[in-house]
């Protein structure tokens, strides 16, 4: 089999205050896969995400992105390969205009001039936000800001797109529009979410992280249908939702 885009092996991590968040996580994601990372609050999902682009460094174990170890000498390259879209777009969008913000990542990679402009236009086109290129981020709706946040990361042409709670705080129409954009992307996705129907709609595979270990890994419809595991790890489907009646679109 080919080198996984994401290869996490035996990852353990404790914060400086002694709180152990991860106890030996193993996770492989292959090119083109859409994987949902599920788990209750405090399961260690965010800690895991921050390891993927080297913001946190493993206490034990290793993380590799497309064969390259996540470690100090090549953090810039790792951060290009792993595009993290954070939960609050106001945290992600910090430059005065949409254009400057989408250009931020590629400019850090050394792109300039027309090449940079083309990259910005390409990324904004992919999320349908090109006409807002000169707007300040705080004049956009929440759903639009989330789409621009996705574009800021797409502009770096990542190997894998990591989304933290992409559907949170979106109204149903924005939620659907974002789903359409994400399904049309032709990218490797790792999506951290509590929105189980969204996971079922967008990801063929789901991984459940609970108390710092992976407790389930399989096709999303099977994982969500396994009532015992779901209950044991505080995962609940919305009232009346039957995962077997729906499938990946």
């Amino acid at each position: 089999m080919s080198t996984p885009v994401l290869d996490v092996q035996g990852l353990a991590f404790a914060y400086a205050d002694g709180h152990q968040a991860l106890f030996g996580v193993n996770l492989h994601v292959h090119r083109g896969e859409h994987v949902a990372l599920l788990g209750p609050n405090g399961a260690g999902k965010t800690t895991l995400v921050l390891h993927l682009n080297g913001i946190l460094t493993p206490g034990r174990g290793s993380v590799r992105v497309a064969g390259l170890e996540v470690a100090a000498p090549h953090l810039q390259e790792i951060r290009r390969r792993v595009g993290v879209v954070f939960q609050d777009p106001d945290d992600q969008l910090f430059m005065p205009t949409v254009r400057d913000d989408v250009a931020f990542g590629p400019a850090n990679l050394g792109l300039r001039g027309s090449e940079l402009d083309a990259r910005v236009a390409e990324a904004l086109t992919r999320v349908g936000m090109l006409e807002y290129v000169d707007r300040p981020p705080h004049h956009l709706s929440f759903g639009q800001r989330r789409r621009v946040a996705v574009a800021t990361v797409l502009a770096m042409r990542p190997e894998i797109l990591v989304l933290d709670e992409p559907s949170s705080n979106l109204d149903p129409a924005s939620r659907r529009e974002l789903a359409e954009i994400l399904t049309g992307l032709d990218a490797t996705l790792l999506m951290v979410t509590h929105d189980l129907p969204y996971a079922l709609q967008l990801c063929e595979r789901s991984v459940v992280l609970s108390d710092g270990v992976i407790v389930a890994d399989g096709p999303t419809s099977d994982v969500l249908a396994d009532e015992e595991t779901m209950r044991a790890h505080r995962l609940e489907l919305p009232f009346g939702f039957d995962p077997r009646a729906h499938g990946v679109s």
Partner: protein, 255 residues
């Protein structure tokens, strides 16, 4: 919250003044203010000429004078101070409308009012014709230290976010029957202030994480603004050039 296309001081337009690169306008504003401030004491005729020059610039910018006039309230504290000066200053007294006031104080107050008003109108005109982003790009082009430009950029970006957060906290307080009247309310307001600071601080940390995740290594990329042509510099130099000439003439004549 302002127009759909900028901050509250900005007036959307495409006039020659709007089109001038921001860094030219910053230099022009600075030179104008310095020339006005350097006017010799006790000489008042140059102010009429400065005003004519400045009004010509306002005309060229097509910003409605009423738009600028309304925003001149920022000058109020200076006006109050100027009004007080003739009464509190010492020295020979003169009669003004039947009231005895200090002659020096009266003169200083008039100078302060003239210089202050010209400075405020010029700054408002600058703000009305320059988007905040272009202002930052202009400062960057003028080689202002990176850290200062970054701090200002974040302030511009997060001012609205933090104000909205503050509003939400106020609404949440009031929704639970809190009324900010009297000293009894101060501890609550102070605690909200503290909470707001901590939230802003935590947001700062999250923003920093998001920046690192996109390859931030201590420098913001240059905000794109093209260099100014000689023509643009000469247009920008019209008002400050005229002002400097008038100021110099005032010095020569008053000597």
């Amino acid at each position: 919250m302002g127009a759909a296309h900028g901050h509250r001081l900005y007036f959307h337009g495409h006039s020659p003044v709007h089109r001038l690169p921001a860094h030219c306008k910053i230099v022009a504003l600075l030179c104008f203010v310095l020339a006005v401030v350097a006017t010799p004491a006790g000489v008042f005729w140059p102010f009429a000429w400065y005003a004519v020059g400045l009004l010509a610039a306002v005309g060229a910018s097509r910003v409605p004078p009423l738009f600028l006039a309304r925003r001149m309230v920022v000058e109020t504290p200076f006006v109050l101070f100027a009004v007080l000066m003739p009464f509190v200053a010492t020295g020979p007294r003169v009669d003004l409308l039947g009231v005895s006031v200090s002659e020096h104080g009266l003169q200083a107050a008039a100078m302060l009012l003239c210089k202050g008003t010209l400075g405020v109108v010029a700054s408002l005109l600058f703000a009305a014709t320059t988007e905040s982003r272009d202002f930052l790009a202009g400062l960057q082009r003028l080689r202002m230290p990176q850290q200062l430009v970054q701090i200002m950029a974040f302030m511009v970006r997060y001012l609205d976010v933090t104000t909205a957060e503050m509003q939400r906290m106020r609404v949440a307080r009031e929704a639970r029957c809190f009324s900010a009247r009297g000293p009894a309310a101060w501890p609550t307001v102070a605690r909200s202030g503290g909470a707001l600071f901590i939230r802003a601080y935590e947001r700062g940390e999250r923003v920093h994480l998001a920046m690192l995740s996109r390859g931030y290594a201590g420098r913001l990329p240059m905000l794109s603004e093209s260099p100014a042509s000689a023509l643009q510099w000469s247009v920008a130099a019209l008002l400050p050039g005229f002002t400097v000439l008038v100021s110099l003439a005032a010095w020569t004549i008053s000597r």
